[in-house]
């Protein structure tokens, strides 16, 4: 830990940046999937149909009780057994996305439940349709409550994306490991990468606080 | 009889005029606002002093400064002659350590508006905690002492109950017992009945009255004008960070000299019909 070889970092800069780009791409796409699927799940958790609600609940519990690595291995190594043959990166995106959906479902569910029933009753008495109620009454109020835990969950997703390196996706951690293998150094690759994740996550956290302020004043 | 007394009472060393609390030129600021603008106050052994005044007059802040729960900015607070909160060396003043503060504050007991009982301990647990942790009494001795003092406030039967199982008046009586168990020389009361439902106020005032008759030195911030009138030896009226008038309650209430006290008493009379 005495000296840091800045030349090495400069030489491998492009590789690490390429990894960062992949990480950003993967996380962005996975987040979108997770948010959308999570919203759908949250709505499903509120239906009166017991079977549908039960299935949604089971999905959420499985995702919360199983490590992401198991889900990825199932999709990547076990996938071919049931006809799913995809490259590592799409598997990673889908895995992260549908895994995260379980968590977003809980966040959105709590958001829906935070709105007093009385408001919905009043809306129905005044004649608003269920759809209007969701879009005009529930979601605008939920946003303030939902943004912080959602931003937090996205940060968690970014950190979990490092696991994709294990199924050979060339994202940031994978490239750092490659750099470490090639140079036999440990400090430079992993600390450089830790700093990059840290900065990325701090940027997301800041954006999150900005979004939260905008949403609360809306 | 002395053994029945709730209070430890004056010792042979105290003379009737011994000053238990001395406050000189006390100033306290919160940011730019001066909340206490130079307070001078004496409480003598066995005196019962009541501080009254409108909200924002600084009365609670004064009490908390005397307890050194707030750090005062200028002036002196002395407990039995010893400076509280600061060390003085060669005329220069520095903040005292927690230990030094504890030592000077040892003879002061305090009862809070919101009781501040520890919810995870029973009434007896609350009362014996300091006996065991500070005085290092054995559990058996502490519990014997604790039951004794709970008996004095009429709550021996509730020794094994948790705070959430007690009424407000009972909780405050446990709080008084907890402070009493440490045998303080003086007790501070910060609006002891303000958080209680009206029906429960009486039981707490009864305990406080008994303490007074047994000779406990008491400094009380309160809205209970009746208590001030009948139990206190001295009443102090504060407004806007200053002591405006003080004297015997009967005289103060019957013949207020200042306009502000007159106005304050009028609002009180209007409220209570």
């Amino acid at each position: 830990m005495i000296g840091i070889d800045t030349d090495m970092i400069a030489r491998y800069g492009p590789l690490l940046l390429a990894g960062l780009v992949t990480t950003l791409r993967v996380c962005a796409l996975a987040s979108v999937i997770a948010l959308l699927a999570g919203l759908v799940l949250a709505l499903l958790l509120r239906t009166r149909l017991l079977v549908v609600r039960g299935a949604a609940r089971a999905y959420v519990e499985v995702m919360r009780g199983t490590p992401i690595l198991v889900i990825l291995f199932l999709l990547y190594y076990g996938g071919p057994s049931f006809g799913l043959v995809l490259d590592a990166e799409p598997v990673g995106i889908l895995g992260l996305g549908f895994y995260g959906a379980g968590y977003f479902a809980e966040i959105f569910r709590a958001g829906f439940e935070s709105i007093p029933k009385g408001q919905i009753e009043a809306a129905r008495m005044v004649g608003l349709s269920p759809r209007q109620i969701v879009y005009r009454i529930q979601i605008p109020q939920m946003l303030g409550l939902i943004v912080p835990p959602s931003v937090n969950q996205i940060i968690i997703l970014v950190k979990e994306s490092a696991v994709l390196s294990i199924i050979t996706v060339a994202e940031l951690t994978k490239n750092a490991t490659q750099m470490a293998n090639e140079t036999f150094a440990v400090v430079e690759p992993f600390l450089a990468v830790a700093v990059l994740y840290w900065v990325l996550i701090e940027a997301i956290a800041r954006s999150g606080r900005w979004i939260e302020r905008r949403v609360r004043h809306a | 009889m002395p053994e029945d007394a709730l209070a430890s009472g004056p010792t042979d060393q105290d003379t009737a005029s011994a000053r238990v609390i001395e406050v000189r030129s006390l100033v306290k600021r919160f940011g730019n606002a001066e909340v206490l603008r130079g307070i001078d106050l004496d409480v003598r052994a066995s005196e019962v002093v009541c501080i009254i005044g409108p909200s924002g007059s600084g009365k609670s802040t004064l009490l908390r400064c005397i307890a050194f729960l707030e750090v005062y900015d200028e002036g002196d607070v002395r407990i039995q002659g010893r400076l509280l909160g600061y060390r003085e060396r060669d005329g220069r003043r520095s903040l005292a350590s927690e230990r030094e503060i504890d030592e000077v504050r040892r003879s002061v007991g305090m009862v809070f508006q919101h009781f501040n009982l520890w919810p995870h301990m029973t009434a007896l647990g609350n009362v014996t905690e300091a006996l065991r942790m500070v005085k290092r009494m054995s559990r058996r001795d502490a519990e014997a002492s604790g039951l004794d003092v709970l008996r004095r406030v009429g709550l021996e039967a509730h020794a094994g109950h948790y705070p959430e199982q007690l009424s407000g008046g009972q909780k405050q009586r446990v709080a008084i017992a907890r402070a009493l168990a440490m045998r303080p020389r003086v007790m501070l009361f910060d609006e002891p009945t303000s958080a209680l439902d009206p029906e429960l106020v009486g039981e707490v005032l009864a305990v406080m009255r008994q303490l007074a008759t047994e000779g406990m030195t008491m400094l009380i911030v309160s809205h209970e004008m009746g208590f001030a009138a009948h139990v206190a030896g001295t009443a102090i009226f504060m407004d806007d960070g200053r002591i405006v008038e003080q004297g015997q309650p009967a005289q103060l209430f019957a013949a207020p000299r200042s306009e502000r006290l007159r106005a304050f008493l009028n609002t009180w009379r209007e409220r209570s019909i």
Binding site: M1, E61, R64, G65, T66, P67, I68, L69, V70, F73, L74, Y77, G78, G79, S81, F82, I155, V158, K159, S161, A162, V163, S165, I166, T173, A176, T177, A180, V186, V187, F190, L191, V193, A194, Y197, W198, I201 | L69, E98, D102, R105, R106, G109, M110, F112, H114, N116, L117, W118, P119, H120, E129, A130, M133, V134, Y162, E164, A175, R178, A179
Partner: protein, 218 residues
């Protein structure tokens, strides 16, 4: 799938046991460190809150896989030769300490200031206040997020398979490579993790109920 289970259940149970031990130790060590961190964050003594904040920021803001690799590769460089198992426990502990520290900090702040003032007026010392008044109440308050964190640690422990610790994930990989049935094996592994987490969640709820009954709510 049943035959795979039957043939390998000894190995799987051994792996699950290692998983539980690794997670348990990380939680326990993390608890001690986390408490220290929480008090450090709340302290008034100049460098302490900043240092603790820095620690918290790093260990919460970087992926656990990267942390694992850093600890695993850097310890030998610093002259400390440890078994992968020890490195795994160290990394997981340092990680969870940051999260637990934040949990405990929030719990401590929820205790009314007045209780501390009453203790100070009775002459009770700072450390006694922490031990007898703050920490007992804090644990009741933070039990839900703490159980949640325990579940997360259990899932994170699957990652130590990458540094060759033979816990459940690694054993599963070994079995998958010898049986050529990754789908079945990882489904079994997933089920075991799920079972462990369900037991943990259930134990957590029972503990919460027990603590509520002993009459201690603020």
């Amino acid at each position: 799938m049943i035959e795979i289970l039957a043939d390998n259940y000894g190995v799987l149970i051994g792996g699950a046991a290692t998983t539980v031990v690794v997670s348990g130790m990380a939680i326990a060590i993390g608890m001690v460190l986390g408490l220290a961190l929480a008090f450090g964050l709340l302290s008034h003594r100049a460098p302490l809150p900043a240092l603790c904040g820095f620690y918290r920021s790093f260990w919460r803001g970087t992926p656990i896989l990267v942390q694992l690799l850093i600890v695993f590769y850097m310890l030998p460089q610093a002259g400390i030769d440890v078994a992968p198992l020890v490195a795994a426990i160290v990394a997981l502990s340092l990680n969870t300490a940051a999260f637990q520290g934040e949990i405990y900090r929030a719990g401590l702040l929820a205790i009314p200031r007045g209780e501390i003032e009453a203790a100070r007026m009775l002459g009770i010392g700072k450390w006694t206040i922490r031990r007898r008044i703050l920490i007992p109440q804090m644990f009741r308050l933070v039990l839900p997020p703490l159980i949640n964190e325990a579940i997360i640690i259990l899932k994170n422990s699957s990652l130590v398979s990458v540094i060759a610790v033979t816990e459940l994930m690694r054993r599963s990989q070994q079995i998958a490579s010898t049986t050529f049935k990754p789908l079945e094996v990882y489904l079994i592994a997933g089920a075991i993790y799920l079972a462990l987490n369900l037991v943990l969640a259930h134990a957590g709820r029972r503990l919460e109920q027990r603590m509520a009954i002993s009459g201690a709510r603020a």
